[in-house]
Symmetry: C2
Subunit: 562 residues, 2 copies
Amino acid sequence: MKIAIAQLNPTIGNLSGNAQHILEAARQATQQGARLLLTPELSLCGYPPRDLLLNPGFVESMAQVLQQLAGDLPPNLAVLVGTVEPNPKGHVTGGKPLFNSIAWLEQGKIQQIFHKRLLPTYDVFDEYRYFEPGLQPNSFTLDHLRIGVTICEDLWNDEEFWGKRSYAVNPIADLAQLGVDLVVNLSASPYSVGKHHLREAMLRHSTVRYRQPSVYINQVGGNDDLIFDGSSFALNHAGEVVCRALRFETDLVLLEFDEEKRDLSPSATGENGGLAAFAASEDEEIWAALVLGVRDYARKCGFSKVTLGLSGGVDSALVAAIASAALGAENVFGVLMPSPYSSDHSVEDALKLAQKLGIATQTLAIGQLMQSYDQTLEHLFAGTSFGLAEENIQSRIRGNLLMAIANKFGYLLLSTGNKSEMAVGYCTLYGDMNGGLAVIADVPKTRVYSLCNWLNRNGEIIPTNILTKPPSAELKPGQVDQDSLPSYDILDDILQRLIHEHQSTAQIIEAGHDPVVVNKVMQLVARAEFKRRQAPPGLKITDRAFGTGWRMPIASRWSAIA
Amino acid sequence: MKIAIAQLNPTIGNLSGNAQHILEAARQATQQGARLLLTPELSLCGYPPRDLLLNPGFVESMAQVLQQLAGDLPPNLAVLVGTVEPNPKGHVTGGKPLFNSIAWLEQGKIQQIFHKRLLPTYDVFDEYRYFEPGLQPNSFTLDHLRIGVTICEDLWNDEEFWGKRSYAVNPIADLAQLGVDLVVNLSASPYSVGKHHLREAMLRHSTVRYRQPSVYINQVGGNDDLIFDGSSFALNHAGEVVCRALRFETDLVLLEFDEEKRDLSPSATGENGGLAAFAASEDEEIWAALVLGVRDYARKCGFSKVTLGLSGGVDSALVAAIASAALGAENVFGVLMPSPYSSDHSVEDALKLAQKLGIATQTLAIGQLMQSYDQTLEHLFAGTSFGLAEENIQSRIRGNLLMAIANKFGYLLLSTGNKSEMAVGYCTLYGDMNGGLAVIADVPKTRVYSLCNWLNRNGEIIPTNILTKPPSAELKPGQVDQDSLPSYDILDDILQRLIHEHQSTAQIIEAGHDPVVVNKVMQLVARAEFKRRQAPPGLKITDRAFGTGWRMPIASRWSAIA
């Protein structure tokens, strides 16, 4: 039996558009002789639909579009489509009103509905807000092939693999007990660095443990802060990879289930024998993720062009390069806004970068505006000395100019702050934080450098001077970041321990960091919460990003996370 | 037996400070002869602690502070304290690592721990993110009095009262089956208009249905966007109110349980015989809520003074009045920033308001700054005509000036946008949306007027001209809001149906609204999502506020909620 994987890139809520993509994949799959087509979790509405699910009209529309799709699909192709289903007895038994479901469509009809059993409620996931868990193992028989159906999190509870249980039941074990020929897992699993290795190792463990060949289908594409990497794959009985779909791109992959051997056959189709290559390095992988994230956010919000401030620093240089790769250099507009405190090299470096990338720029000196603010505030600020207020004014002048350009020409403004800055608040709210999308908000400063160096591996794209000069906000004469912050390798190590490893102050100090520095960083992180709350969505590339998966109180006396 | 209710106002994460408040209440209760002291849900850390709970160090500190508190308390007073408890078998059975718990402290020790059974995962609540539900009914015996312990949501699942079940079990019914003399409910239930009536009606229903006298204890105070109104109360067997604590204030209330009648006795202590009065109107109630929200946000963030822009319009007038009531007029600094498009009455009205309130002001004309921006952008904007970009520049100049003042003098900036504006995006991101707290972001424009009229009930505080002139953003000559928007009574009715009643476009049109207007509003609401995502926390006064309980995708093709 030929099985096709449709690694799709839905737009949230665009039900008819998403259905159209499923239909196109189905036609292509039929042409290639497939009997079964697999699509990602919630493929009809896209993942995550969030509070759109609270609207009864939205849920009704999904049901209608699903029925219509069932009728439009090639009748002899079985298609698994991700959708939501009402929980008819919820108000009687005390359950949530919806299930996160998979519909098996065939012969113009919905043949069967399967419900997701394990509902994640950590990090960015809020599934218990909307869904009731399914209680039964899900399977169906297609031409004598018994197929177990699992949805995303259903796979993530093997107590042997994790060394603990996260949920009371393990749907994979339940399917093994039932006895199935094949397990499919229909997912919408957001990207983080190296997560595809984790997914393969986890599924391999289950596959070998329960001797069930397995197919893993993932959504691809950027949806607000989340990037889905695709990276669908399949494993035979022995846990060997029989196919890997493309990473960060839509794909349609064909698999063969050998009905005599009762196993998936090695694929021989496509490039690399159906085995798409992994990235050669973490930098290459993160780069691909961020390019996709920018491209999809712009496209799905209806923007074709973006703008950003070019300071001559490394952050804006990286974002300009990502944007150029995502949308084409001709769709990126760089704005240089030197002040009297800007060093000569800032403008030179920014112009050289723009030239390397081939993007258009405009230079708008802000000295006159700074004077106007000084004059306007002269009386009120009389007797005070130059400080943070004056530094922030400059950043906010630039933020205002960038938004004016974005508003005037219909561009999307990209903000360029990195994760280290966002963590300690070394950024100006309503200034350099301005933007519709914070491209590198989850990229620590040390990673910003390594991405730039990776980008330069075959020749200079980011001008070398940008990478070698000391980082500076240039908001007062002679300022460098390390006047206010520890060196970035130390800062990033502290932040990694604090944010990702949930270490306490004592533990971080024990690891060899200076107590004074650690305590200062802790305080800075806590105090910057009000800025992060008002930040634009930032593309998530780690297992703990600021944003929808980071829910901290602002008016709090606990030193952040220490 | 004398029972005391400590209606406390904790600061999130301030464990030792919150413990100190519990200790003080305990000493006072002991002096008054109490045998039992009740405190709100999570009274040790404050509600909601959010992702602080993901930090093991935080949870360990709570355990230490709880032990310390047990030792410090008067030994013969039984005290119920809200805390979290590790779920020791969670990793084996597949549960979340914590319980939302109540500790019974007495004789220097933790006598018993009770776990919350029903965990809300709707609106602003994320309890399944952190907690495992308790499985057993909770009760203990104190001097022959059998007391059933429930925590907040445990009370909210009476299928008779609601006409449906939200959870499979009803902890109140379970306690009735066990047979208890008294049910206590320790809550942290956020305010929304009229919610105290709902709570009393709901508890009365359970009390009468199961013939169990009941005590309801609620947290009080503002924590970021959430305002807790207190409004603790108790009902005897017959469902009669025997005491009501103050609303929007801390309180310590004493109750008497008559051990012969096995019922709560009518209280005779305090003003009004222990029955604090309700507000005379919804406006009075909302006013009190907002005053508390501003006072606590400022205090808990460490600000004593606030600033805001005074446009001469009704929104900033109301916010100035609220801030003056919250912090004292001497701690409010109003900034007038007229432009060449400002009408004469704007400055006059704003100054008159400031005079009525007794707040200091400064006038900073922005004409020169507007010219500086025009000159800076002259070349780039050549050939384009005045439009939204130029309007937004003005708003962002004001936002920059206000933040400069806030930064310079250490003031908290209050933003003044109302809910109607936030819904349709009639506000400027990084401009008038700037601020640490959005005071009236959950107050529809029609309610803004009614609050101002209420405020003027005994004489003019908000100058009449502010209430009678047509609302205008004054960002271009002769502009009024109704150039771009339907009249506010129509807009607010559409928004009420859309946001609170989850009605579809078709239903709203059926209710008598113009289809063109409805569709336009739907589109505006959808398109403004990116602005709302970057808004400051807004004080929640309705059952559905934008903010932590509103989780919408941005890059989406579904027309918002229609």
